[in-house]
């Protein structure tokens, strides 16, 4: 297995190629542009096709078309671009199309800035577009996870016939880090009896999502709901860090999840029993992770790069039995591990014991 130094966005591109992604449709937007650039240079060598679309809407609808044929397909963009894609994501979710959508989150609202942010949490985890649907959301926190979760995203998309969002940020996307280019794990066998690829020797197939009969509409919604419940049951993923004896918990994902690990280590040096839950799936939210702690820990701090979005899911997960506070930076700013610890100490009135 090769270990190489690569930029975060390029890692996503390489992982896509090694996941058997055959078509990519994108549109340049900072800080995600290296994904389309990398794939433009490398994907054709592996028999794939990269097309720079006329716009984000074109790109996502090209993904919709490609996914209808059962071809592994990906697109990548950043926040304003992902907003433009929402209609297409809604249609893709309704038809049940496997595809991977990368959002290298920039800070918003509006045009915003290019710095790291997690301000698209609500958009990502609540469907994002019109109608009641969900996309699976994976949140990497370092280079190796950009690689591994991209591969995981393709398999989950196929397994559940659902769009999967890889939610990263400009910091992860632009940073060069070593990554082990693991060979692709065996892809799960998937049913392709639904794809539209020409009715050769079979009945014609239709992939569409309209239901002009209310009864059919409700039946469709129930089918999707059952799928989402199945995903919620089976696909909650998270990482725990020093949680076993924790009196206080940090909850954070992505780049801040990584910073929080340093905070935990610093706290432990001071004798503060701090732990971390780092959600890997943001939808389904890993509420199971909180079960052992909701009657046990004294307090929780979510660390986010927004006005406080994931904190709602944390409060729901602990059924408001534990005080949950928010430490956040915004607009492209990152917190240091020290300011997070200061906040924890001040919020809970912890007198640090030097050990």
């Amino acid at each position: 297995m090769e270990k190489v130094l690569m930029k975060g966005n390029e890692i996503i591109g390489e992982a896509a190629i090694r996941s058997g992604c055959k078509v990519f449709f994108g549109y340049p937007i900072t800080p995600s542009t290296e994904v389309v650039e990398y794939l433009s240079a490398h994907m054709p060598k592996h028999g794939g096709t990269v097309l720079q679309a006329e716009d984000e809407i074109g790109a996502i609808n090209m993904c919709y078309g490609a996914a209808c044929t059962g071809t592994r397909v990906m697109t990548a963009s950043s926040s304003p671009g992902v907003s433009l894609k929402q209609e297409g994501i809604s249609y893709s979710a309704a038809v049940g199309l496997p595809m991977v959508i990368v959002n290298v989150n920039r800070c918003g609202p509006g045009l915003g800035g290019l710095g790291p942010a997690q301000s698209d949490y609500f958009q990502s985890t609540r469907g994002g577009g019109h109608g009641d649907y969900r996309t699976i959301v994976l949140a990497p926190s370092k280079a190796q996870e950009l690689y591994d979760y991209t591969m995981m995203a393709f398999d989950l998309a196929d397994k559940y016939r659902n769009p999967v969002l890889l939610l990263t940020d400009g910091f992860l996307g632009q940073t060069m880090e070593p990554v082990v280019l693991k060979e692709r794990p065996e892809a799960p066998a998937v049913d392709r009896d639904w794809v539209v690829d020409g009715a050769r020797g079979r009945e014609k197939r239709v992939l569409a999502s309209y239901s002009l009969t209310n009864e059919i509409g409700e039946a469709n919604n129930l089918v999707w709901e059952a799928k989402y419940k199945d995903i919620q049951e089976k696909e909650q993923h998270w990482e725990e860090f020093y949680t076993e004896d924790a009196e206080y918990l940090l909850v954070s994902y992505g780049i801040t999840g990584r910073i929080c690990k340093s905070t935990v280590l610093n706290a432990r040096k001071k004798g503060i029993k701090l732990g971390l839950i780092r959600p890997i799936t943001l939808w389904p939210y890993p509420e199971k992770a909180f079960l052992p702690f909701k009657d046990k820990v004294k307090g929780i701090v979510t660390v986010e790069l927004n006005t406080g979005q994931m904190i709602e899911d944390v409060k729901l997960s602990v059924e408001c039995k534990v005080p949950v506070h928010l430490y956040r930076r915004q607009g492209g700013m990152l917190p240091t591990e020290h300011e997070i610890l200061d906040y924890v100490e001040n919020t809970f009135g912890i007198a640090a014991r030097e050990v």
Partner: protein, 250 residues
């Protein structure tokens, strides 16, 4: 006796859901017959967005995809780029391809995407109940131009085939009509050519078909044909607007 006219294998046995006298059905018949004659029904994937065209999946016997409003060509390009040996066509109304989805039409043509697009131009939004389209004629009354379309505030009708014909990647562009038996037969020839262009991998093929909307025009089906001839044909350039040398030699 020999059957000289009947329903094409390219159609399912589902009756069209269009209003009486609407010539959408005529255009669908022509596409179905062309697919059958070229023996490509099993190789073809059709795409239609919303609007009256949005029911197409029920009527064609080939595989079909329903797309979002305006996005049929983008979806079709996704299909074609994934399966280059299949035949892909889009079936779109003027309210779709000449308004909400125009960017995809322009760029599909510019890139020479190897798909076939059929535009049904009846100068109005049909499914939503007769609103003004970018193709609505000057002075024409619709529910959103109740006093007649005022071009000084709402603009002039877009002649999309003329725009498309200017783009290098479009190799066959035709504007036809289905108002009379002669024109219907000409329309079929153009549609057939547009599929043959794709089969030969030559580039983007586009056929605009003038069609009626008796319900929203508020006139009888027979009078609608006359209205189309008198009012639409003088505004929209008709005939084969672009036939490249390669296409001529097909």
């Amino acid at each position: 006796m020999e059957k000289i006219f009947g329903r094409s294998k390219g159609l399912t046995d589902v009756p069209f859901s269009f209003c009486p006298g609407c010539t959408h059905g005529t255009i669908m018949r022509l596409i179905a017959e062309v697919m059958e004659e070229l023996d490509i029904i099993e190789d073809t994937i059709g795409i239609s967005p919303v609007g009256c065209a949005g029911f197409s999946q029920n009527f064609f016997s080939c595989d079909f995809i329903g797309a979002a409003h305006g996005r049929a060509q983008a979806v079709g390009i996704g299909v074609k780029r994934s399966l280059p040996d299949r035949i892909v066509f889009t079936y779109q109304g003027d309210g779709d391809i000449a308004a909400i989805g125009t960017q995809h039409a322009i760029h599909a043509a510019a890139r020479g995407e190897k798909i076939t697009s059929i535009m049904v131009n009846n100068a109005i939004f049909g499914m939503t109940g007769g609103q003004m389209a970018p193709t609505t004629l000057e002075g024409m009354k619709t529910t959103t131009s109740p006093y007649g379309k005022d071009v000084s505030t709402t603009g002039y009708p877009i002649d999309l085939p003329r725009l498309i014909a200017n783009l290098e990647g479009a190799v066959y562009v035709a504007a036809v009509s289905v108002d009379s038996p002669k024109n219907i037969n000409q329309a079929k020839k153009a549609i057939k050519k547009a599929f043959q262009v794709q089969m030969a991998g030559l580039g983007f093929a586009f056929v605009s078909v003038l069609s009626t909307c008796p319900t929203n025009w508020g006139i009888s089906p027979v009078d609608s044909l006359q209205w189309l001839r008198e009012n639409m044909m003088p505004v929209y350039q008709m005939g084969e607007l672009k036939v490249t040398e390669e296409v001529k030699s097909l």
